[in-house]
Amino acid sequence: MTGSARRIEGAGLHPGADEVRFQFDGRAYRGQAGDSLASALIANNVRVVARSFKYHRPRGITGIGPEEATGLLAIERATGDEPNTRATTVELYEGLSARGQNAWPSVNFDLSAWLNLASPLFPVGFYYKTFMAPAGAWMFYEHLIRRVAGLGTVPEAVDTEHYTSTHAHTDVLIAGGGAAGLSAALAAGRSGARVILVDENPWLGLGLLGEDARIDGERASDWAANAIAALSVMDNVRILTRTTVAGRYEHGFVILCEKVREAPAGRDDPSPRWRLWKVRAGRVVLATGAIERPLVFANNDRPGVMTASAAAGYLLRHGVLPGSRIVVATENDSGHAAGAHLAQAGAQVTVLDRRDTGTAIAAEAGATVEWSSGVLDIKGARGVRAARAATPKGERWLDCDLVAMAGGWSPALHLYAHTGGKPVWDEARGMFVPGVSEDGVICVGASNGSFDLADVLRQGHEAGLAGGSGATSPAPNVEGARSEKASAAFANLSDAGGKAFVDLQGDVTVADLSLAVREGYRSIEHVKRYTTLGMGTDQGKLGNVNGVRAIAEARGEDVSAIGTTRFRPPYVPLPMGAVAAHQSPDLRHPMRRTAAHDLHEEAGCVWLHAGAWLRPQFYRQGTETDLEAVNREVMAVRENVSIVDVSTLGKIEMAGPDCIEFLNRIYTNGWSTLKIGMGRYGIMLREDGMVFDDGVTMRLAEDHYVMSTTSGGAGAVYEWMTRLLETRWSDLRVVLTPVTEQWFAAALAGPKARDVLARVCDGLDVSNEGLPFMAGRVGTIAGIPARIFRISFSGELSYEINVPADRGAELWQALLEAGAPENMEPYGLESMGVLRLEKGHFVIGREAEGRTNPDDIGLGRMVSSKKWFIGKEALGLPEMTVPNRRQLVGVVPVDPSQRIPYSAHLVLPDRPDEIGGAQGWIASLAYSPTLGHDIALALLEGGHDRIGEALIASAPIAGKKTPVTVVAPHFYDHEGSRQIG
């Protein structure tokens, strides 16, 4: 016998189970196997487990499942506390250690408890009101609010647990393993369909616990046990317990979150803690049950006030009787059923029923029943001591240690609503029920608003069979079910005095909701956000319907006129680890490596992630700093020769007789005169006239071309071109093939590039006449089939050599060997960036940033007036020629020894602090070793006409300002003589 204070011998699912030791707030306790942390705490008579979000009121356990709003604890793990964990969903394990949250020094004695007394000073929406007036109020209160309001603390250490995810396909997915779910699973399983049956609890069939009707001639609990046994041996049925259907999406897609293991992994245990399932189901049966609602009365948040189903559930599941003198406040028969179980276990039970008649089951079990009665108020800040009863004989305090609330049932419609289904208010039954469902989705049992056991089993059975073609079996037969008497009509919530809570987690009271409505908030969605109703980790599973009722009352309208807030996935908080699963930082997305990757690695390169590509940033030698390495590489290109891996550039092969026509339509410049063996640079616009991509297209043969795109644009450009060809110009005879990954490419650049190339070109004429600027040849390099393009990004004499990717490393090695007499070494992306910046070449995504037209970046001359092209119409829009467009300029520091700060805005010298009125910004910045000072490209309002102007480059966050001069966006060899010689 463990946790003996409230444990009833022989009761529960696992009487006499092994002892399990755990700690709460540093004290040692004993529970037993099969306990949840909540049941173990209750068994040990621990009443205060948390402090509330806003007022720091002591809070206990209110529910028994994922609806729990108050019992949020921090669980110690190896890498830090796991915060905001619902005690009701944590399975007890040996050595578990939990802590209370939002309290200091402890939940029992919390120095911030004064907030409760000061609560009149903090009305609803206080947080928002501080934004409005007086000026600066938010600045004053922010510090205070951030410190005292809230939940647990996020751990900062790297999580060392394992997580995993998996995919599955099934004919039927059944959410919920209660009476309806078991019935559905049996019917579907026996028909031969593939079935996945999911339940959030460690055990199936909990919905039938304590049921005294007989099913197919057996006790309900025996029927459930037999059903589970039958399902377990069906090959076509997969049962997932400890698994929550977290989200339901279109076309039968559902996300399941399976808790594989609660306790920390042992040493060398590779098992995951959570597994995320992505399931595509032919049909989804929602047998998610219903959640019991609290009642609304003063101090209904005191530790020891819980739902009646939770109170009975702790007894039936765990053998824990949560009180010895219990008041059950009810409006329906189910409160009597709970009272009967509690009374039979030995508690002294008083049932206060707001109706004037109902079932006799509690009375027969020995409970005192008073009709037309209810609870008004609670005494006992750290645990219920008495309840104020209102009865026909008058009001009086009833001594008690537990108040169980039976405020009616709310079908769990969350999963139903995830795809947009609208819950409908059923006034007669006092609950939201499912409205129209899409095909292939059905709510059965309590989630459908059905509480009669025969109906529940029949609905599950029919849903399990629906659409199935296999064998049918008869629905389970029920005898001895009690017929439920009607629930009471709703009481007026505004009659509740004192602090009567609607949302226990957000500390939202009836008065708060009423005030919000008086302040003009009408829509449930607005009231929710203003008051935080239903915005906690429980998402209003307990409180929302009472909240909707309170708003309806304050507005003087029917509940049906208010509706519910939109339920969105996930149904329960999802561990981030389960979502990330195997995606450790290195595996987050596919890593693309070029064919010369290993050679770069051996050469000591520093890697840079450029999109999905891993590219050499630069190659460090000895003890060089980053800047020294880049300067050396840049000067090697300017003065000697060097090579760079440019395999990442997009490459698209084009074939067909209409390629020239196609190029004319997608590029701004003309292509009709392009000769075989020559290439041309083009810029491509979006239909809105903004620069989209650029690159060189080479004509290899009469009907054969290869287009080069930016590295980042390779996918999008191909997609755009295929869209045009497939949706608009299907008459054009052009075939595109993306070949980026089929080719390796290296650029050999520098004044001595031709000398190096000549050693490996296998007799190809590489003289200036034989291979002029912008020419392309097909031949071999060092015996490797190659395409050689004489094009330049660096501004130097340069050859881009393309070879089949599987021979890329071979080419790279051959070029390095050929350059040995010049001591040639490779350069990286960083140095390439400096070289292009010196030349004033813009880069897509930097200077051409999506709002830049050709004229803005100084390429107006590349826009043909003689033909149509994509984007031409848009260039005629008035906005395209306004004088204050941001245009490309160069920027240099006034004092060449000064650095220009990163991420700087360009501001006027007489108003250097007016960042809001910035004239533009620095888009690219580098130190130019060629020139000996910083250079930058910038986008500046009306920049083309402001050459020579003095501005300030200001980086306010870094606190740096540098006086700069606006110059033309070319810093080096503007005439381009070096690349053509």
Binding site: H251, T722, L725, T727, W729
Partner: protein
């Protein structure tokens, strides 16, 4: 998450596809290889920026980005996500 029937690859999950918007919208001028485009600027701005947002049946383009990379014309109900039809945008003669 939708299941989209690709005429080339079969039924595939939505995350293999990219969305291409309303398939029925056509540029206001005939694309022409030669000559100046005579454009009504307001009409062109509408073509660029205005789209219907219908409740119900919608004919739209999708590209099978991580599959065959072909463009599809798909008819979908924007409320229920029922998919009525799917065909290659280039038509049967496309390939």
């Amino acid at each position: 998450m939708l299941l989209i029937p690709c005429p080339v690859c079969g039924e595939r999950p939505e995350d293999e596809f990219g969305f291409g918007g309303d398939a029925t919208v056509q540029p206001p001028v005939t694309d022409s290889a030669s000559g100046q485009a005579e454009v009504d600027i307001d009409g062109f701005a509408d073509y660029l920026y205005l789209r219907e947002n219908p409740k119900g049946r919608h004919t739209e383009l999708w590209v099978h980005r991580y599959g065959c990379r072909r463009w599809l014309v798909v008819e979908r109900d924007t409320v229920t996500h029922e998919l009525y039809s799917s065909r290659l945008a280039a038509g049967e003669g496309g390939e």
